[in-house]
Subunit: 189 residues, 2 copies
Amino acid sequence: MELLKKRILTDGTISEGNILRVDSFLNHQIDVKLLNEIGKELQRRFQNETITKILTIEVSGIAIASIAAQYFDVPVVFAKKHQGINSDPDSYESHVFSYTKKQPYSIKVSKKFLSKDDKILIIDDFLASGSAVSGLLDILEQSEATVSGVGIIIEKNFQEGRQLLESKNIHLESLAIIDSISDGTVNFA
Amino acid sequence: MELLKKRILTDGTISEGNILRVDSFLNHQIDVKLLNEIGKELQRRFQNETITKILTIEVSGIAIASIAAQYFDVPVVFAKKHQGINSDPDSYESHVFSYTKKQPYSIKVSKKFLSKDDKILIIDDFLASGSAVSGLLDILEQSEATVSGVGIIIEKNFQEGRQLLESKNIHLESLAIIDSISDGTVNFA
């Protein structure tokens, strides 16, 4: 998606350790117009799949999934990382390893919001190691829902996330695929 | 807003301690169609205010603010509760007391995304004690941005949030105002 790639080159910043930051339009400040274009493009790419619900994970996936859901005409469910005292005890649970924090955390989705009749599109901001997506897939397996696909905004294809999804024959669409980040420069595939 | 009140009565649940849960359409599963109606209503109520940006707070405010932002044609910024290693060290910071967790937590907004020229509409899901909104107002004061208003989806007017905002002469609009919750029943104002 050219509009997105251009935006990454213009407004993305590379911090220490070749970490791409997109907090001026995706992760902290949100450019809702860009998200609308992203939503339309995701709908175009998954138009041949049956989708009854979009599943994402807090925090960064929520805005993307909510805007995109308008083009699919389905509700969004987000997996919770941070459980409050009001959390539903009757939930599916899985574990995700955070590479930035170097520790695992649990994610939960209330059993009320996923059923075996659901056909789910997973949407997330980044795909790198695939740990977050794996946690979501684990939850979908527990619920016996069908996985219709995985839509990613920015994929780092020098990590193992893509292989993991391809090995499961999951329909993966990434709107910007990064081959490498070196010397402060993003190189797209 | 009648549509919202009806939805609260139909799909909201009251858990122990007279806590209203709206996780089937607002806080965990998200009804994007309802959020669109909420966004239109917020725009109608703040149509006479100048607004350059919407400020909200993770997690539950993000979807609401993002969908609403389409009707205001402005970007969204969300205050972060959970700071990762990629967080911007150059941020405005404030503190919010969580009544559900009985402890304070810090919220941050990168200085890049708020300026003294901004005219900010704060949007959040609930207004009760007003602690979250107070933290956001503190951050706006630090940034010298103007507060154009506060838009709330569900207000519990038996707590002190409204008084706090009225004492500061802030334009407050709440789409559903709850007078009391007793014996498992929600009573609107």
